[in-house]
Symmetry: C2
Subunit: 463 residues, 2 copies
Amino acid sequence: MEPYKYELSEDELPRQWYNLAADLPTPMQPPLGPDGKPVRPEMLAPVFPMNIIEQEVSTQRWIDIPEEILALLAMWRPSPLFRARRLEKALKTPARIYYKHEGVSPAGSHKPNTAIPQAWYNKQFGITRLTTETGAGQWGSALAFACSLIGLECKVFMVRISFDQKPFRKLMMQTWGANCVASPSNETQAGRDILARMPDTPGSLGIAISEAVEQAVTDKGGKTRYSLGSVLNHVMLHQTIIGLEARKQLAKAGEKKPDVVIGCAGGGSNFAGLAFPFVCDKIHGADITILPVEPESCPTLTRGPFVYDHGDTAKMTPLLPMHSLGHSFVPPPIHAGGLRYHGMAPLVSQTVVEGLCTPRAYHQLKCYESAVLWARTEGYIPAPETSHAIACAIDEAVRAREEGKEKVILFNWSGHGLMDLAGYQKFFEGRLTDYSLPQADIDKFLRELNGLPQAPAKKTGKW
Amino acid sequence: MEPYKYELSEDELPRQWYNLAADLPTPMQPPLGPDGKPVRPEMLAPVFPMNIIEQEVSTQRWIDIPEEILALLAMWRPSPLFRARRLEKALKTPARIYYKHEGVSPAGSHKPNTAIPQAWYNKQFGITRLTTETGAGQWGSALAFACSLIGLECKVFMVRISFDQKPFRKLMMQTWGANCVASPSNETQAGRDILARMPDTPGSLGIAISEAVEQAVTDKGGKTRYSLGSVLNHVMLHQTIIGLEARKQLAKAGEKKPDVVIGCAGGGSNFAGLAFPFVCDKIHGADITILPVEPESCPTLTRGPFVYDHGDTAKMTPLLPMHSLGHSFVPPPIHAGGLRYHGMAPLVSQTVVEGLCTPRAYHQLKCYESAVLWARTEGYIPAPETSHAIACAIDEAVRAREEGKEKVILFNWSGHGLMDLAGYQKFFEGRLTDYSLPQADIDKFLRELNGLPQAPAKKTGKW
């Protein structure tokens, strides 16, 4: 019998995270404060605990994973590496397609890989309560799960329209003991101000971030901090356990290296988690094509410039050097999947500037078609976000067939779609269409960047 | 680091299913036809393919698992055996609690363990289309998944009230290419007759079975058969892969044997799947307490007599020797979980008659409380059915603490609850109550057994 799965035992769990900042050919540009000057670590202290801020600014290559965090990650890690043999047959491709199954975590996605360490470091620092925002609910669920294991209170501000449309996500958080409220809420000044002006607003990620940050920084006891599920350097760091495991598993499968590495990219963390160890290999000479995949309706990397921009709509965060469509950008409502973030992790953005990674954008109908083909060959029903990586993997496998090449394709199966079946329903009912964003729409949002500091795109030109 | 998981590699997959019928101290009594005479295998041929009927009546101890079935099961099997260390700590118990995680299958439960073989044997026999019924949707999803992999059409009659209340289960089936309709439907004579009399009926499992069986036996091309997800001998057989794997995994964990084996029991298949290999060990002298757990609101094993009864409400099936509450029994609507079947697998019933297994019944509030404690310690959110096994495992662990004994407790974590969060919502909102079924209600349903043949409870008295 040909093997489907390449598993690692718990004692083969990686003991260190990999920090790409140590190996980037051009150093990262610093985040800037409202005065245009670099943000100093201590300025972030009201928002994050100092042990996480240290990771955020670290350029140390390997960072030890504390034993207690490993023991918690071992509840579902190492995650299995599967070979998609049935899809290969359906596509008649000579390519060997491997995928890292991150849907096996209790929250159903890769998000707990950073939720657990973030909760743990906060607890170590004496924090008793975390606040966060969530859109569709993946991140809120993951942090609720992590806080329940580690013993922290957890407060989640969930964008109102999702709160109303996705009651089951809220129930997952409640099952894990978190307090999830619709945003804007009456619990913060930011929320009350917005409700006074727009009582019927559906909410937005920007508003929810403002509420979560406000509750953290205004806690007089100093025992509350804020937690973010993507974009920041320490989040990318925690997710590299995915790629580090995958490297060992590919070796067990008898593969020297992948030829193509693929991940979907919203804020960038699941892509970075799988890809960064292979970006390191590429920097050191390996021939690997690395593809972050985003939706055509939110084409941050493929059509957004590399700029300094705020991480949130309300401009509460520092300016980050990244690809961005402008901090007020929202994708058209016709889009049914996730990956709706206006910006992109600075570390991921820099790999694109350098030419180490080559972004692709996909229309949603092709992604849903790929998801259904996947479910009918490989069984697991993917999240709409994950379907972007699947669509790209299928394209690469078809290309390998056309070129007659035995390529090794590796992608990140970032999460299952069992909480997202409403999107499938719209697809089956023909209620989804593709949408190419007019350049004029992008330009409109980019105008809000006028007057912000410039982020020159620095590259070595080697890739 | 202390291990959480005890995994097997794919080449450690069991190569044979275990058939308890070969080892039962008293032979099984045969199913009876409407004339009160034993059903001959060929009489079942319009409903099931002959290769499955052969398994249904087999008394051979070990039955080879075909290589192609193994390759499909390997998509998620061997399933991990976890040790619930965090729950142990929370309970301060000296017991070691192990659970077999069947929620890792693409359909999210143990059901595909038999859906895959059933679809495969039908395909081998030249069948092109399977029909089935589903209540809450677990079994319909599993068969849809199996048919998509094996290349069969799949038709699912889903009880109308569930069809309307659980649209996401239908979408899972649709994603896997199955055709799922609300029952009663206009597609069968049985459905049309009922709709003419009761146009607003919410449907029932009994009606849905009638529709599915009718479509199988009236297919003029002879290429359609019916598939059942529990109760029958061949279903128990296919599920024994769970217990056979668990036995190997316990050995890897350094345990000689479990002291207590627990599974929830509706039709009996997930309980049997884990327990039967250990029932065999018990028959051969091992000291093991084996506990099937059912809801107090559908107490088939704990309060139903051992009788000959029909498997369905419409009395289309043969009479089976089993514990039953009467074929018209329906649990009170206050009950939010699964496990609503009026009867019980004949093989499971016989182990109870023999005293090899000792049934327990639990109220639903305790089950939901246990499920929430589980989610907050062990992470994974269980199905309401599974929560019955968890509640019993917790009780046994607490008893071990009180007795100061280092017991080894093993239970079947039969599936995740991500499609069942509406039940959790009712629990959190205080809309669930416990319900003890009055004896008069049971007696009312049992009166319909008057005039049916008797099934004498045969036992050796050894246990």
